[in-house]
């Protein structure tokens, strides 16, 4: 059993070796730690926004999506959406929103964990963080498609506005509204975190692969 754990954790770096190549071993640890921190910070920032432009809204209407809540002109957008029979935005992604904070905290813990894993398992721990930004957008897209495609047929404008899926990033059009969707600071941080994880893993492999390849624990 301890052999399995050992093989997961990989070789330890001796104090001499660390002193000789401080940069080599510190860099991946630092990068992964920074990535974990950025991910944690992103919890407090909006991830995505959509702004609706129409002549009678000179400042536009904007909804900001945080991991666990919506902010901005949600009431007004819901009010408008009722004309086309779209459900209130607050009803979307309830499960995701309730779990998201815990999930992202877990992701950053896993990345921190990868610092201490000096083998290929480290990549596995970091993998969710690498996929997370794309996962967020895919989930968002699925909800938007679900809401846009399932309009209440009894709504006042149901004959005028056909079911639609607004672009999750970029420009779309619904009625007199132009929709502009773009990532916000949270998603940008999460993406930067993923990129840093990628770079961190590369240096991680560069640092520990030689050790791992020559490493023969007595119990192996």
């Amino acid at each position: 059993m301890s052999a399995v754990i050992d093989s997961i954790f990989g070789p330890r770096v001796s104090a001499d070796e660390f002193a000789r190549h401080r940069g080599r071993y510190a860099l991946p640890s630092l990068l992964l730690a920074v990535a974990a921190l950025l991910l944690l910070i992103s919890i407090f920032l909006p991830y995505w926004k959509m702004t609706l432009h129409a002549p009678q809204y000179p400042k536009g209407l904007t909804v900001h999506a945080y991991l666990n809540r919506l902010a901005g002109d949600v009431q007004e957008i819901d009010g408008l959406n009722h004309y086309i029979g779209m459900r209130p935005l607050g009803q979307a992604a309830a499960l995701e929103r309730s779990l998201s904070i815990l999930m992202v905290a877990t992701l950053s813990l896993l990345v921190v964990g990868a610092i201490f894993i000096h083998g290929r398992w480290a990549a596995l721990l970091a993998l969710p963080t690498l996929l997370f930004p794309a996962g967020f957008l895919v989930d968002l897209y699925l909800w938007m498609r679900h809401f846009g495609q399932n309009l209440d047929p009894r709504a006042p404008l149901s004959k005028t506005i056909k079911p639609f899926t607004p672009p999750v990033l970029g420009v779309g059009r619904v009625g007199q509204f132009e929709t502009v969707a773009m990532p916000e600071a949270g998603l940008i941080l999460a993406t930067v975190a993923a990129l840093i994880v990628l770079v961190g893993l590369w240096y991680h492999r560069k640092a520990y692969k030689p050790l791992f390849d020559t490493w023969r624990p007595e119990t192996r």
């Binding site: 002109d73 009431q75 007004e76 009010g79 004309y83 006042p156």
Partner: protein, 660 residues
């Protein structure tokens, strides 16, 4: 010549702008742009002065005015809000008179108006005269505006967060006021002076007993800024001789704590032209002098707080005897039947306009204080000490015929309206203010004709401790030929006057017809001092209490609650439906209908129009309103949203069904 060159500069500016806009700077394009502007001016018969005036006032779509003017509506009973320099009417505010667009008197505000009905008798119009913006340190603070009603002696408080009338008080002493409203420099007191004398409390007394039984008055209403209300129990009045007090102004800076008023009828004329007596117009103009009233308000308040007032109709009144004994009231001779009493920005000078005398008479506050201290005075018929005119007068400036009202600017000029000459006169102040302009002190600098028969004037923040200059509005009573004749009843003419430069340079920039009332006086405040709400702060807001109504209907809790003949309806209102849409009642039900506009978007106002029951509400975003009525008519009543709210506005309706 100076003006012409300014126009040329302006036109050159347009040409340059055209050039830049074209992006290519083709000389041909510049010439054609220039000739276009000149062609437009030529085609429309506009002089260079006209073009300059247009450039100074034209406010393109989306540009917001620099100044906001609150004008009384005269006998329309409203207050009008006008932007400067565009002279666009922004809105009216219902005060003493019902106004159906705002729902004022048709479901909201009814109890505010009813609370000020004289002796409970319904009066649903007012003669609004003098708006007064609240002040802090003698400067407008943009929080409240007060306005008096001349016809029934009432005073109203408008909250400038939501621009709604919150309180109207009936003065229990008189049915006639004029010298109000004005405020003390920190708005502790709102001043309301009476006009036509009558027995205090307006009971019957034969006109033959005028001297003994009839009295004038001035009331000092204590204003509580926190609650936004006048507190009648902390307010008091002063009994005055029946001299027809006219206008009042509060002292400021050096004269803070003092109040000045003028009077017309020291003759004690009682009219009776039908019996061969001189009519009032002649009777009140017999003496060479009337009296400027000088009141020590700070001391008067102490005397009132010491319990030396007696109550008349519930309002504390300091008797004339008490005022004389406590040395609260002094008189100073002023040219007969004057008009206007205005304190200079530094508080040093009190300007009284002659009306029947071509001068403005300027009194010095320090000299008044010295005269009071010297104890050299003659008592008048009622025992009030009269100070020596020569001892207190600072200057007299001959400004023209029919001087009425004075305002001030930032360059040490005073402006006086001239009714008979139908002009505005500009003249110089003395003292430190006089050094701000090149002309000698106490001299007439220039005059500008206005059309026609000017009454009050309002300069930008022109009665504060720091006037802005720039603009002055002449409130002209007659327009005669200025506009298309709108039948025999013509609009008034409010003229914007440019007072931006020193010397004899005043220019009329713009004529604004006012065909929905007769503004009497106005005050002009810098727009950025106003901080109005754009929507009510929270859903369920009751403007009467400026707090959330605990009974306000909420989304998902709409209901109809019946208890015997009492029915309470809780409705929400949103684009584009009422909830509930069906309301079933039985004839004779007593109905309390609460409605909340649950919108949070600026301008998403809804109406609630109920036929036959004389109800229309304006429900602004977040607002809750409650209408009460007895369902005394059976039938089918389609109610609807009277404010065009959305593409499905027409569908925003419901049925009130009242069973026989």
């Amino acid at each position: 010549m100076g003006n012409r060159s300014r126009v040329v500069m302006a036109l050159a500016g347009l040409v340059l702008a055209n050039c830049g806009g074209g992006g290519e700077g083709k000389p041909g394009a510049a010439v054609s742009g220039s000739s276009d502007v000149q062609k437009i001016a030529a085609d429309r018969g506009l002089t260079p002065d006209d073009v300059a005036a247009a450039l100074k006032t034209y406010t393109p779509s989306g540009r917001i005015d620099d100044y906001i003017m609150f004008a009384s509506g005269g006998h329309s009973g409203h207050v009008f809000v006008i932007g400067l320099p565009s002279m666009r009417i922004l809105r009216s505010i219902g005060v003493f008179t019902p106004e159906s667009w705002q729902g004022w008197g048709y479901g909201s505000g009814t109890e505010v108006m009813a609370a000020a009905d004289p002796k409970g008798k319904e009066n649903r119009w007012g003669d609004t005269h003098h708006p007064a913006l609240s002040e802090t340190g003698g400067d407008y603070d943009g929080q409240f505006v007060f306005i008096n009603d001349k016809v029934n002696a009432r005073i109203a408080v408008i909250d400038l967060r939501d621009w709604e009338t919150k309180q109207i008080l009936k003065n229990p002493l008189s049915l006639s006021d004029h010298g109000g409203s004005c405020v003390t420099p920190n708005t502790e007191w709102v001043i309301e002076g009476g006009q036509y004398a009558s027995p205090l409390g307006f009971g019957y007394a034969p006109i033959a007993s005028y001297k003994e039984s009839y009295r004038g008055m001035v009331t000092f209403w204590h204003f509580d800024r926190t609650s936004g209300r006048i507190l009648p129990e902390k307010s008091f009045a002063m009994e005055l001789p029946p001299y027809w007090q006219d206008l009042f102004d509060a002292g400021k800076k050096v004269s803070e704590g003092w109040v000045f008023g003028n009077s017309i009828n020291t003759e004690l004329a009682t009219g009776g032209v039908e019996s061969g007596n001189p009519p009032f117009e002649a009777g009140v103009s017999q003496h060479d002098n009337d009296y400027l009233h000088v009141i020590d308000l700070k001391r008067a308040a102490e005397v009132f707080q010491a319990g030396k007032a007696k109550k008349i109709n519930g309002l504390a009144v300091l008797s004339l005897a008490t005022s004389i004994e406590e040395r609260l009231l002094f008189f100073v001779p002023e040219p007969k039947s004057p008009h206007g009493v205005d304190v200079s920005p530094d508080g040093q000078y009190i300007v009284v306009s002659g009306k029947l005398d071509p001068h403005v008479t300027i009194y010095d506050f320090t000299k008044i204080q010295q005269a009071i201290a010297s104890n050299k005075s003659e008592p008048d018929a009622y025992g009030v000490p009269i100070l020596d005119f020569d001892a207190v007068v600072e200057a007299q400036v001959e400004v023209g015929l029919g001087p009425l009202h004075t305002q001030f600017d930032d360059k040490g000029y005073a402006y006086t309206s001239l009714f008979l000459d139908t002009m505005v006169a500009r003249w110089t102040l003395g003292g430190p203010g006089g050094m701000l302009n090149p002309e000698p002190d106490w001299t007439l600098v220039g005059r500008v004709p206005v059309q026609y028969n000017i009454g009050h004037i309002a300069a930008a923040e022109g009665d504060t401790v720091s006037p802005d200059g720039k603009y002055l509005v002449a409130i002209n009573k007659w327009s005669i030929d200025r506009f298309f004749p709108t039948g025999p009843l013509l609009p008034q003419n409010l003229q914007l006057v440019d007072i931006g430069e020193t010397g004899d340079t005043m220019k009329v920039l713009y004529d604004m017809p006012m065909g929905i009332g007769e503004p009497h006086y106005a005050q002009i405040i810098k727009a950025d001092k106003l901080k109005p709400w754009t929507i009510y702060p929270e859903i369920g807001w009751d403007p009467r209490t400026q707090a959330v109504d605990p009974k306000a209907p909420k989304v998902g809790e709409e209901r109809i609650v019946r208890s015997g003949k009492d029915v309470e309806i809780f409705s929400t209102v949103v684009r584009s439906h009422f909830n509930p849409e069906h309301v079933e009642l039985r004839k004779g039900d007593r109905v309390k209908w609460h409605l909340t506009n649950v919108e949070r978007t600026q301008d998403a106002t809804h109406g609630f129009a109920l036929p036959m029951y004389n109800i229309n509400l304006s429900l602004e975003p977040g607002e809750t309103s409650t209408v009460e009525f007895v369902a005394d008519q059976d039938g089918t009543f389609p109610f609807y949203c009277s404010e065009f709210c959305s593409a499905l506005h027409l569908e925003m309706m419901g049925y009130l069904l009242v069973q026989p």
